[in-house]
Each structure stands twice: as structure tokens, then as C-alpha cells.
């Protein structure tokens, strides 16, 4: 029961975070100063999210082949598409798993 309360409150709160700044914007509002740095939000945010996802396995030691897969994905992504990059990284992981099981 309390789990549902938590999830519902968290959901309502999350919508509030999304909407509160948009709600108070009136028709005559000036563009926010944040527009100058808006191009920086995505790189910082995605890098932060990515680092969090990589740090967890690094800490509990389950990173394994991710250590090779991550740089592979990064390098492939500089030249080719995102999906290709992810596939190459996953290829490294699957290959490493296969090698691990064969040995």
C-alpha cells in the first residue's frame, strides 16, 4: 500500500517539476536567460546519466566487458550512427560472454 502511495506522490511531484515553470509563464514573458546555455543542458545531462550508469557496475565489480564495450561505442559513435555504436558495444559484450563461457 505504501509503495503505491510513494509511486503516486512521486509521479505527481515529477509532473509538478515539469509543469511549474511552464505554468507561471505568461503570454508576455521574455525568453529565459537559460536559452543561451540551453545547448549545454543535453551534453551535461546525458553525460551525468551515463556516468551514473557506468559507475554502479564499476563499484560493485560487475563491469566486466563494459570496460571495453564503452570505449568501443564511444569511438564508433564519433564516425557512425548511434545505433551502430550501441550494436558494436553490445557485440563486444556478447563476444566476451561467449569467450568467457568457452574457456
Amino acid at each position: 500500500m505504501s509503495a503505491w502511495v510513494a509511486v503516486i506522490l512521486a509521479g505527481v511531484g515529477s509532473f509538478a517539476l515539469r509543469f511549474v515553470l511552464l505554468a507561471i509563464v505568461g503570454r508576455d514573458s521574455m525568453p529565459t536567460a537559460l536559452e543561451q546555455v540551453s545547448g549545454l543542458v543535453v551534453p551535461a545531462s546525458f553525460a551525468g546519466l551515463c556516468a551514473l550508469q557506468l559507475v554502479r557496475p564499476a563499484i560493485d565489480g560487475s563491469a566486466g566487458s563494459l570496460v571495453i564495450a564503452a570505449p568501443t561505442t564511444a569511438v564508433v559513435a564519433t564516425r557512425w550512427g548511434r545505433s551502430t555504436a550501441v550494436l558494436c558495444g553490445m557485440g563486444v559484450i556478447w563476444a566476451a560472454d561467449l569467450v568467457g563461457r568457452l574457456l
Binding site: 509521479g11 545547448g39 543542458v41 543535453v42 551535461a44 545531462s45 551514473l52 564495450a69 561505442t73 553490445m90
Partner: protein, 253 residues
Amino acid sequence: MHLSATPARSDVHRLDATGSARRVASSRTDVRAELLAGARAMLPWLAGVMPFGFLIGVTTTTNGRSAVFGLATGLGIYSGSAQLTALQLLASGAGVATVVMSVLVLNARLLIYASSMTGHWHDTSLRFRALAGYLLVDPSFAEAARRYRERPAGAHWFYLGTGATLWIAWQASIVGGALGGALVPPGARLDAVIPLFLLAEVVGVVRDRATVAAAFVGGVVAVCSVGVPMHGGLLVAITVGILAGAAVQRVWT
């Protein structure tokens, strides 16, 4: 401003209270084209996003919760990292306050996203802003930021198309994971798709010195801030990353 009795034939003008003519939206085909363009723009993201949603669905049932519960996190919290954290916290017996606080701190970046969009959405209806805000999350924000910067005309519909596509795919993947998780072989390593996809995204959006600085500093600070209570490290990392990028902008332009 002089009020014209006959509006121009090619445009539809509505005169608002101040007397200035505002061009309202366009023909049906424009709207449809923009909606579809938005949907198409989201498709490449789904390859990385859907495994994440699937994983959340799987985690939900692994933790003994129903598919409906997992879907509820998707409908409300609507953010992968926050949903996963909430599920993990609940599984470890955390209380309501801890779960809610952690989700809100993790999702605080949405305030930054919304703040970035206020300039683009300030002349839309409250209803649009409510819907647009609800659909705002990392991939839809990334697409919106790009589109509004490149071509603001028609961008509202583009955004709705892109946001709705993401939303539908996300909820579907959660339900899929909750119901069909047992069918996926553990060797598929879906958990690895998420960091790899995010990494590919970072490489994709980094364009110049400022964005490199923002990404690099954001990543480093996130790693260093792992110990910050209530998962506040992400917000700290994003803020410091933006500041670093802004500093580079100032020094190098």
C-alpha cells in the same frame, strides 16, 4: 497597429487583445507532417530507450510487483533512472519519504529542461504547456532543443509527435518487460544497452569546446558525487557541467 478588414489570403491571422496580428496554425497537412516528422525523429532513440523500459518492467515483476505497478511508475514518474531507483529503494524497504525525495531529486533536472523551453512555449495555451511538460524527458527534450533551435516554425507539432511516440514506446516496453521478461535470455545483457546508448548520445551531441566541457565535467562530477545523499549527485553534476560549458563559452568565443 492598423487593423486590416481583410486578412491576407495565404495566412490565417487572428487579432488578439493588443491588436497585433498573430499567425495561428496552419493547414491540416502541416500539422500531420510535423507530427510524423517528430515521430520519425524519435525512432532512433527507441532502440536504446525501449531496452531500458523493458528492464524496468522486468525489475518490477522480479521485485514482486504487478505490471500495473510498473506501468504506474512509467505514467507518473516517467523517467528511467528515477523509476529504477524508486523500484530498487522500495525493494530494499525504504519508506515513502525516501522514495519520493530520491525521485524528485533525480528528476530535478526536469526543472532545467522546462526552464529551457519556457522561451519557446511562452505563447502557447496552458493546455499545450501541460501536455508538453508532461511529455518532457531526456530524449524528447534533446529533440525539442535541436528542432526549436534549427526551425521554430511548426516545432510545437513536431514536439508533440516526438514526445507522444516516446511516451507510447516507453509505456509499452515497461508492460512488455513486466509480462514477457522471462522470455528474454539473461545472456542478452539488456542492462548493458542503457549505459552504451547514453554514451553514444553524449558523443552525438558534443559539437564544440563548450559542449565537450559540459559533458566531460558533468560526467566526472557525477562519478565523484556518487556519495551525495538522496541521489543529489546527478543534479550537482548537471549544474556544474552547464557552468563549466558556459565558462568555456565565455572564454573561447
